[in-house]
Amino acid sequence: MLQIVLTIFIYLILVIPVGIYVYHVAAGKHTFADPVLNRVDGTIYKICGITPQNTMDWKKYAVSLVATNGVMMLLGYVILRVQSIGLFNPNGIGGMEESLSFNTIISFMTNTNLQHYSGESGLSYLSQMMVIIFMMFVSAASGYAACVAFIRGLAGKTKDNVGNFFSDLIRITTRVLLPFSIVGGLLLVWQGVPQNFSGNVVVDTVEGAKQVIAMGPVAALEIIKHLGTNGGGFLGANSATPIENPTILSNLIEMYSMMLLPGACVITFGKMVCDRKRELAAAAISDGKNTAISKKAHRSRIVWLYGREGRSIFAAMGILFLIGLGVCFWAESQGNPALADVGLSQSMGSMEGKEVRFGVAQSSLFTTVTTSFTTGTVNNMHDTLTPLGGMIPMLHMMLNVVFGGKGVGLMNMITYAILAVFICGLMIGRTPEYLGKKIEGREMKLAALCIIIHPLLILAFSALAVGTPEGLAGITNPGYHGLSQVLYEFSSSAANNGSGFEGLADNTLFWNITTGVVMFFGRYLSMVLQLAIAGSLMKKRFVNESIGTLHTDTMSFAVILVFIVYIFAALTFFPVLALGPVAEHLTLWA
């Protein structure tokens, strides 16, 4: 218990400086590394023929993002298909089959990292690096870029400029992801994660048998896997393997790397929105009108490191996270009564599928973190979690707003915030406004569409899977848990998480194609819609705060937000959760 509390406490301290740094990068402000990195960026711009000063409106930005991702997918697909060539392939891995390549490439480009292959036997080192590691960088950078554009739209300094996608993509890669990866990667190697290009090693064991031990550029993949909230493992069992995650320190490093940047995103949002208020205030001073406002704005900057608007969003996410974590930890600590019945003591909690070095505490923490921050890396097998312990990761992927992946979680949460101000507006008779802009019919339609896509993808495809023999063939656990396996797979795909109830036999044409489609729409449809919301809001004039304005920078708004999120989740997902994990829990403890 104490270790969980401390882990989170340290996180809250670490996230502030990282958030400030990321804000400086996103807002194009000065950072200490500029003298070197400006040159690096300049060279890259020159080679690629990019003019960073060219601004884009939201449509152009979205098209550039989707098109660039398309080109990356095409190139990656080719590499997967021809990976059997002798380059960086000491283990003699063959080419990847079409439907699996299709699934894999969408999976990694959409930041999902759902894996229907096992890294040990399915990928050469060439693919691990030029496809997997490459996509882990660029998919994270793309998501982050979309988020920064979205925030620029909300902060609304101009009417149609959300920034330049290419320069965002490159700046985030060179200033945030690469430097953090080099430092974090070295830390992981220090803890014992291998980083080499040699083939798997066969040793003669103490008992005279043979053992084959996996090698490869593991640390490089491992660090960006977490930093970019990607989640696809070098090996089949992901961060549960002592090769990818050998010690408790490596576990903490991996956990912090996936938590820091999504949290930093919220801070960036708070600060960029705060900027606008400050500029407004500065304008007021120069007009010599209202010094009281400017003083207030100035104080708010100093007092709230998170930025006021960011603070309430961060608090709402934090509340959702802690509730989930509490339930998961409690459920896992209870152990498995079925095993207690056959006489195996459950005093350590439910240990099936968990590693001794992590135990129940670090396992349930990691599980909640990986599904809240939509990374999808696992340090224990989620299929073996107790029914309620396994429901939490599923629920957090269904919500998809508890911090969320690189940028995307924040965009989802703000969609909910727009919904919340609308609903509250209706209830208490106030004008729905968010961040100083009126929320009207067009934004509400887009937000509603955005919120409905996610459950539609999950539930419709789950229904398809349990309604067809091809889908049913994948289920490997009997009873209610079978439904949970299906539900988890599509929740994970739609939320671009990528973890799995790994028992599911999912490397089949049906599962490769359906999850591929879900991942694609789950990512790009909501991203484009959210950019459209930002595009629509930026065109509006700022309205002055009045007595009728609902304040969105308060703790009470955070609590309202939590309720709105839970109510929507209950309305859409409760029936199916009752049939899966809840029913399983009731049978197990009956």
């Binding site: 660039t68 080499n196 090693v201 040793v203 008992e207």
Partner: protein, 203 residues
């Protein structure tokens, strides 16, 4: 777009892993190479990868769906796990049994009986949870100190070493929590067994 793709692919997908390999080989050569354990010039395993042990005088690891990728070569040239099933090549993971799956309870029941038969002094309710549940990776190098302790009488009897000696070896290879707070106490099975083998004069 193609330009950006190619440049980023080379920077992130080639330059970065090569740079990291170079740096780690320079600074942490042992870890970068996979923490292999070598005794008298023979590589016996890796520090953080568990192994399957079947002899009574060795400490046993947790059950593994992949038998820790330990195999023997059969006379027919094929490769087999210790239990006689065919070795399909390197892998990792667990059986992914749901808590309600009858296959899980069956496996645990069989394992309990087998364990009690080989460890007659141990009572059923004293078997620690971790020892007979499978790890997530199938490669877990550790067991809990409690799981090591209940195996000591069997090891003493089969190895001919004294109880003191075995306890010392286990204690030496037990690692506490980081700062006394983070993680769990663990015993590294492979390291214990290498030492037992050395004391017995096998290695």
């Amino acid at each position: 777009m193609i330009g950006v793709t190619v440049v980023l692919m080379l920077v992130c997908g080639l330059l970065f892993p090569c740079l990291l390999t170079g740096l780690s080989t320079l600074i942490f050569p042992r870890q970068a190479g996979g923490n292999l354990i070598t005794v008298d010039g023979k590589t016996l395993g890796a520090e953080y990868v568990g192994q399957e042990f079947t002899e009574d005088y060795y400490l046993w690891s947790r059950p593994s769906a992949y038998h820790y990728n330990v195999y023997v070569e059969g006379e027919d040239g094929k490769q087999y796990y210790n239990d006689g099933t065919e070795f399909p090549g390197i892998g990792s993971g667990s059986n992914n049994y749901a808590p309600t799956n009858p296959a899980l309870t069956e496996r645990v029941e069989v394992d309990i009986e087998a364990f009690l038969a080989k460890n007659p002094t141990v009572k059923r309710e004293d078997i620690p949870t971790d020892l007979l549940t499978a790890s997530g990776s199938g490669l877990d190098p550790h067991i809990s100190p409690a799981s090591a302790e209940i195996q000591i009488p069997r090891i003493v009897k089969a190895s001919g070493l004294t109880e003191e000696e075995i306890k010392d070896i286990v204690a030496e290879n037990t690692q506490g929590k980081v700062l006394g707070i983070f993680g769990e106490e663990t015993v590294n099975v492979l390291k214990v067994n290498i030492e037992i083998a050395q004391r017995m004069g096998i290695q």
